[in-house]
Structure formats: C-alpha cells, structure tokens
C-alpha cells in the first residue's frame, strides 16, 4: 500500500486570458491598471498542479490536499467560486498581491510560513506542487524558493506526470528538450514538483464538490493572514506589455499551406 502524501499546492490568481493588461506605477511600484476590476482565474500551470494533486490524493489512500494561495482576499474569494467546483480541497488563504510584481523571495517566505502553520502538516510527508512558472511574471523561481525554505532538496520542474509506488517512492516525468521527458525515481516525500500541463483535462464543474468545499473555504478566507510584502530592495527598471499587432481575416476554402505562407510573410513584415 502506498504511503499517504500531504499534497500542498501553491497557486495564485492571474487575470482571465484576453484581458487587457496595462502596467502602471503605483505608490509601491509597478502594478496592473484596474487589477481588482479584471476577472481572474487560478494561475494556469498551478491549476494543472491542483488537478494532478487531487488525482494523486484520490489514488493514494489517506492522502490530503491543500491549496495555498496568496492573492487579494476579494479576488481569491471570487476565483474560488469557480475552482471550488472542480476538486475537493482545503484552502489556506494568504492575503497579498498577485500582480506578478511582488518579490519572489518575500512571496516564498509568506507561502512557506502559511504551509508550516497548516494544522496537522508533516513536512516530511509533503509533496509541494505548483506551476513551474506563473502566468503573471513567469519568473519561475517562487516554488523553488518555497521548497528551499521548507528544506526540500528534491525538486522537479516541468513535470507532466507522477506515478506513486507502493513503497512511498514515485516516478516523475519532467519535460526536456526535443519534446521528450526525463524519467526520475524519487525515494519519497518531501519533494517539490513544478508542473507543466500534466495529462489531465480540467475537471468538470460539480455542484456537490462545490457545496462541500464551501463549508471550509469561507472560514479559510475569513482567517486569511496578511502577507508581509514590501518593495524594499526591489527595483524594476522597465515594465511593458509585449508588443502586439493584430490583423484578423476570415477566409474559406483556402489551403492550409497558403494560409501558412501568408502568415509567415506577415510575421516577416517590419
């Protein structure tokens, strides 16, 4: 029988795809214009981590799943209206910024502190899941730093699969060059797994899961601890959205090669 895991997923929130993002300078540094107005979703890579974590917990009896999320409380509450319908989870809420401009070290310290404070947590049994980078700034370092703060030296990034064995060990597939995976065997928890897409689709919305989750999510949000995030020691020399140019055409019955050639020519234009 497999050793139960304590799966802790770190996931923040990011603006819903296609939203118009505009960096501005606020009193504490760069920020996103109208960030609180923008609809938000769970950070996509981390969301995959959550679904994979829930799947693992279902497969390995006695395992538990926590979602540790740092975001403005009101935003997190709104995102939970969707996420809570997906998989059973226990929320640990940290009230803090999610714009992507917060210092990764400070963020990691806040998350690590929240994890240490989880009632019943045993760090020796923890599998720390998250996205291998966020969709906010894509620094790709926060999860590693959380792991280091918690003393977790076995770290995997770009994970697409985890297969538990009966003796508590597990096999991990990590993405490498050439669309291949590196296969590793880890002796057991604790470990850090920064997920890519995994292999599971987004779970369907389940009203029963939602109702069950809501019993713990609301109290968790009310108990959210404010994270100590400052802009001390951090300076952004420049913040800009990627340049983009758009042209939309609708065509019918045009061969794919012709469309591809036209797109290539368009890209090559100055």
């Amino acid at each position: 029988m497999s050793t139960p895991f304590q799966v802790v997923v770190c996931a923040s929130v990011v603006p819903d795809p296609l939203q118009t993002l505009e960096p501005i300078t606020g009193p504490t540094g760069p920020a996103l214009k109208n960030e609180m107005m923008l609809p938000a979703i769970l950070d996509p890579w981390a969301a995959h981590a959550l679904y994979e974590g829930a799947n693992l917990v279902k497969k390995v009896a006695g395992s538990s799943l926590w979602l540790v999320s740092m975001a403005p409380k009101a935003k997190l509450q709104q995102v939970m209206m969707t996420v809570a319908q997906k998989v059973p989870l226990q929320l640990v809420a940290v009230d803090g910024p999610s714009s992507g401009f917060a210092d990764a070290q400070q963020t990691a310290t806040a998350l690590a502190a929240a994890i240490r404070n989880i009632s019943g947590i045993d760090l020796s049994k923890v599998l720390l899941f998250g996205g291998w980078e966020s969709a906010s700034r894509s620094a790709g370092v926060t999860l590693q730093l959380v792991g280091e703060e918690l003393g977790m030296v076995d770290q995997f990034q770009g994970v697409d699969a985890i297969t538990p064995k009966d003796d508590g060990s597990f096999e991990v597939l990590e993405r490498i060059e050439g669309t291949r995976h590196q296969v590793s065997l880890c002796a057991g928890a604790p470990a850090v797994l920064g997920w890519a897409t995994g292999s599971l689709g987004e779970p369907q919305n389940n009203p029963q899961v939602g109702m069950a989750n809501m019993r713990t999510i609301m109290p968790a949000l009310q108990k959210a601890v404010a994270a100590k995030i400052t802009s001390d020691g951090l300076q952004y020399s420049n913040v800009a959205t990627p340049k983009q140019q758009r042209e939309t055409r609708i065509v019918k019955d045009v061969p794919a090669n012709e469309i591809a050639n036209e797109i290539v020519q368009w890209i090559q234009q100055e």
């Binding site: 819903d16 795809p17 296609l18 939203q19 209206m81």
Partner: protein
C-alpha cells in the same frame, strides 16, 4: 441533490433577492436564523447557479435612478463600486444624419432640413440638436452611472463573504423540473458531450437539484424562464412581442477629453431613427456608448455592430471618442413587452424575478433597478413565508410576493409604461409622440395598437429595398454572402451609402476582432451547441436569414447549402437570433436557444 432554495441566474434581480434574503439568515450571534429543511441541522441552503463563467460578465448600459438599490444600501458610496458615478449632468440629443444614408420618413427629413437651414439660430451643432430639457419620465437625476459587471461583482462579493448563500458561475441550468405545473427544482446542463449533445468520454448527465423554492432570474432569454413559460403558459392575453438588442462599447477616452464622470447623454435619430443611443461617462475617463436596435425596426437585414460603429462616429459623439481605445464590448437582448409580457409571477414551487418577469420599463428606459426591486420584494415575501413555516405554494407566493409587487412603485410605473411604445408600430414620429402622450396621461392614453410579432412586420428584401436594388441584385448579394459565409447587411448598407468603416485597430475594429479585443469571448469544450435549428428545410427556405444578420457575435453564418452554421465559440448569448427567427415548429421558434456555456469574458460592460 437537495437544497432549500435554488436560484437560476445571477444579475441585478438575483442580487436584490439574495442580498435582502441573506441579511436575515443569521441571528445577531452568528447562528443560523432559519434551519434547512433539506439538510436538517444546517443553515438554509440557498444556491444560485449562473450560466456565465463569472458573475461579472453581464451587459447593460447602465444609468439608473437606483431607488431600489439605494433602499437596500442606504449608505451606498459609489466610490466603492468600480466604474460607478453619480449622475452629474443629463441631456437629450437629437442626432441628424451626417451620412445621407439613414432611412428617414418624410416628416423627419423635413424637420432635419429645417434644422440644418436654421442652424445659425437654433442650437444645432456637430449635426445634433440638444433639447433644452430631458422629459421627466426619462431623467435619471440623483441616479447612478454603473457598469453592471462591476456592480454584480461588488454585490456578489458581499454575498459570498456573508457565507449564507452560495453562487456558482459556469453552471448553466438546462431546464426546470416540472410535474403537474409544480416546479420541483432544476436540472443542470450535461457535461462531457459533443457539439450535438452526444455523450463522450467523461460524460456527466446534468444533476437534478431539488428545491422547495426555485427562483428564476435568468434574464430575458434565459432557458429556464422560457421552459416554464412553454410548459406552464402565460397569463391570458400576455405575449412577449417587443424586443431590442442593446450593444455597447466601453471606451477609454483621450486624455484631453474632460467630461465629468456621471455625464449622461440620451440620443435618438441616428444611425437610424428607430435606434436610441446612450453615452455615459464613468470615472477614470471611460465612457459606455451604445445603441438599441428594436424589433420594430423593420429592416429585413437589421443588425447592430455596423450601426454601432456608425453611431460612435457621429460628429456630436466622435469629438469625444476619436482617438479613444476600445476596452470592452458586449450585447444583450432586452425584453421590452413589460407588463404585457409578464409571465405568471409565481406558482407552486417557483417565483419569477427580473427582466424575464416583465420588469423592464421601456418608457423610462430602465431595467436594472426595476429588476433589483423585484428581487427584494420576493425576498421579503420568502422570508415572511419561511418565518411562518408556510410552504411555497402558488397561493402563498401570490400573497407574499405578487401582492407586494402589485402595490409597489414598480407596478404603478409599469402601468404607465405598458402601451407607451405602441406608437412605434406606426412610425418613429408617432412613437415619440405616443411616449409623451402616455407619460403625460399617466398611461391612460396611448397611440398605436397592439404590437405585431417581431418577424410578422418584416418586408422581404425586395420590398424593403424597392427602388434601390432589383431582386436579381439582391439574390446575387445573398449568393455571394453564402459563398463567403458573410452577412448581407454590409454590402447592402455599403450600396445604400453608408460609408465604409476605416478600421484603426484600436477603436474601430472588425466584428471578429471585437469579440476578442472587446468581449474576450470564450467557450469551454464538453458542452453541446446551444443554438440548434430544428428543421433545416425551414432554414433553407428562409429568405432573410435574420438570425445571421442580427447575430451580435457573427456566430451564425450562411452556408452554400442554405442552412445556417453556428459557431459556439463566438456566441455572446444575446439571444437576438431566437426572437428574429420567423419560422415555428409546434408553436416554438425553429431556432432553439438553449442553455449553454461561455460567452463574454469582460467584466467592464
């Protein structure tokens, strides 16, 4: 699954209902005030299922007198609601036609000529006449300019924080569970199906949610409202015949545009005389600008987006909007039948609130506050019944809710508005006069007769464009559109003299671009198409294909086979296709508009 109260749809009506209800569900010490009958020992289980992927994805103008909203929130501070502002100024503006393409009656053409001739002595500037007054029935003095998306988000956030009710977005309700005209609850939409609704791997049938009370507030084209209307029927003589599509942009204004937040402009006259328009200024130098395309605009290729682009380029508005940046776009249908379209407001196990219960007032041009008020009135009645331990029967709900509604300002004003728009069945000038007559006689007098159904009044393309194009030319245009999968309104409007839209990629963008740049339209997989054509032969025989022309998102296109093609990923759920379908099958429109997922992903409309 068993709950106590199942709610369908989250908009202003449901916001009013849940806010009023939730305030009385906890005692002062935080213990539940009312125990659940569906889960003994637990608090009352009140669950709201919303179709859209987020509660902030609604569409509306909005300018509102906010009487009902302020009654609920006496200390309301607009600065707490993003994009909200108190109304600071209000004007009614008649827009002349700068293009020469607008179809105007003799009377309107004569008055335009008069205005242009005497523009030096009359207050005619920028091809517009600012009227020296705003009629009392239209004014929104002391009101609010809002974004409905941000307002719904603000209300929803407070509701969720209270912990007393649950709101689940991305959870469409397919139909009501009805037995012998008693509503037992609702059924959620099947998941894990292909576009035709056939189960695939991961199929999950829609869960049945049983509830002692089902509150239906799913908007003017909601699937559950229409399902109940179809199976329970409407009161004798009532019918929903008057509709409009409202379409809007949210535009970031140029920095040098110094319009005060709360500036309100009501317009009429352009792009077509039948189209009313609006321009509301939010804080942060942002404006909501839009038009209404009504069902009594008899053009057989009527459409909204192209007209909206012409509207914003009218010189009177373009002086503010030129150089602006598109932030958001959206569209919705408005149910404009008011009292005449009222369903049974309550029955055994259910109650109706909001726009689908006929609350929109077309005389005052307002719906949000009216919808909100229907929700608060129902909540007061429901609390009365819960506290008395009475069941949610038709009789009890009639006494607790319907009577409240009938004795409210809502009812009084809806009676005044009931026939106020009938004059538009005969023409724009008659319609405007009719509105004034109805307003000043408090609804006792009206012009015009009972409205026709939206598609009964339409002429054929050849008749409408007689003198401009021959049938042969029209047929050639339609065939070309079928080959390219495009709408006929663009080439026809071009040939009628409407200037081509000069896309700038920032504010003036193609219809396809606006879906992504403005509405951020998306749709998840695993669900069936929600627009279904029952009898394809009827579609083949349909000359106008108004569903294609009126589709707000170009989600419905022509095909060479004569059968419309629906692309779910472009649909914004405005429902215009449904009320523009002229064909019926067994008493229902040939175009079936069902529950579905996806749509707008902008929270700024």
């Amino acid at each position: 699954m068993e709950v106590d109260i199942a709610c369908v749809g989250f908009g202003p009506a449901m916001g009013g209902f849940l806010t009023t209800l939730s305030r009385k569900l906890l005692n002062d010490d935080g213990t539940p005030a009312i125990e659940s009958a569906s889960m003994p020992g637990m608090p009352l289980q009140v669950i709201c299922y919303e179709r859209a992927d987020d509660i902030g994805f609604g569409v509306s103008g909005v300018v509102t007198r906010a009487r009902g909203i302020r009654a609920t929130f006496p200390q309301l501070d607009p600065t707490q609601i993003p994009m909200a502002a108190p109304v600071s100024s209000e004007k009614l503006v008649y827009l002349l036609d700068p293009t020469g393409a607008s179809r105007r009656s003799l009377a309107l053409r004569a008055s335009d000529r008069f205005l242009k001739t005497f523009r030096r002595v009359l207050p005619v500037k920028h091809d517009a006449l600012e009227l020296p007054f705003t009629p009392a029935f239209l004014h929104k003095k002391d009101g609010l300019v809002l974004s409905i998306g941000q307002f719904n988000q603000w209300v929803g956030s407070q509701l969720i924080s209270s912990g007393t009710v649950q709101i689940w977005p991305g959870m469409p309700v397919s139909e009501a569970l009805i037995e012998n005209k008693r509503v037992l609850g609702v059924r959620l939409l099947d998941q894990g199906v292909d576009k035709s609704g056939n189960p695939e791997a991961g199929f999950t049938p829609g869960m049945d949610i049983h509830a002692a009370l089902t509150v239906v507030g799913d908007g003017p084209v909601g699937a559950v409202s229409r399902d109940i209307d179809r199976r329970v029927g409407l009161p004798e003589g009532n019918d929903v015949r008057e509709w409009a599509v409202g379409m809007k942009f949210v535009i970031e204004l140029r920095p040098d545009v110094n319009l005060q937040p709360g500036t309100v402009l009501h317009t009429f006259g352009f792009p077509e005389p039948e189209m009313f328009g609006f321009f509301y200024v939010h804080p942060g130098n942002v404006a909501s600008v839009g038009i209404f395309v009504p069902s009594w605009f008899d053009c057989p290729t009527r459409t909204a987006y192209r007209y909206l682009q012409h509207y914003i380029q009218h010189p009177y508005l373009w002086r503010y909007l030129a150089g602006g940046k598109l932030r958001s776009w959206g569209a919705k249908s408005l149910q404009e039948s008011g009292r005449r379209g009222e369903p049974f407001l309550a029955g055994d196990g259910y109650a109706r609130i909001g726009e689908s219960s006929g609350s929109t007032n077309v005389l005052t041009g307002s719906g949000v506050d009216e919808a909100w008020t229907t929700g608060t009135l129902l909540a007061e009645g429901v609390l009365e019944l819960l506290q008395a331990g009475k069941p949610f029967t038709r009789e009890n709900l009639a006494q607790a809710y319907e009577q409240r509604r009938r004795s409210s300002w809502l009812e009084k004003e809806s009676r005044v508005a009931e026939k106020s728009r009938d004059g538009f069945q005969s023409g724009v000038v008659t319609g405007l006069i009719g509105m004034a007559v109805a307003a000043f006689s408090n609804g006792r007098l009206s012009l015009g007769g009972h409205p026709d159904k939206p598609t009964e009044r339409l002429a054929s393309l050849a008749e409408f464009y007689r003198g401009k194009f021959t049938q042969h030319e029209i047929t050639a245009i339609q065939q070309d559109c079928a080959v390219h999968g495009t709408s006929a309104h663009d080439p026809l409007m071009d040939l009628c003299g409407w200037p081509a839209i000069q896309f700038d990629g920032t504010l003036l963008v193609s219809h396809q671009d606006v879906l992504l740049m403005g509405g951020k339209v998306q749709a998840a997989g695993g669900y069936a198409d929600h627009v279904v054509f029952r009898d394809l032969e009827l579609c083949r025989g349909c000359g106008n294909k108004l569903c294609v022309e009126m589709c707000s998102g170009q989600a419905i296109t022509r095909s060479l086979e004569g059968v419309p093609i629906f692309d779910r990923e472009k649909c914004v759920f405005c429902g215009a296709c449904m009320w523009n379908c002229p064909e019926t099958v067994n008493g229902e429109t040939n175009l079936q508009f069902r529950a579905g997922v996806g749509g707008l992903h902008s929270a700024e409309n």
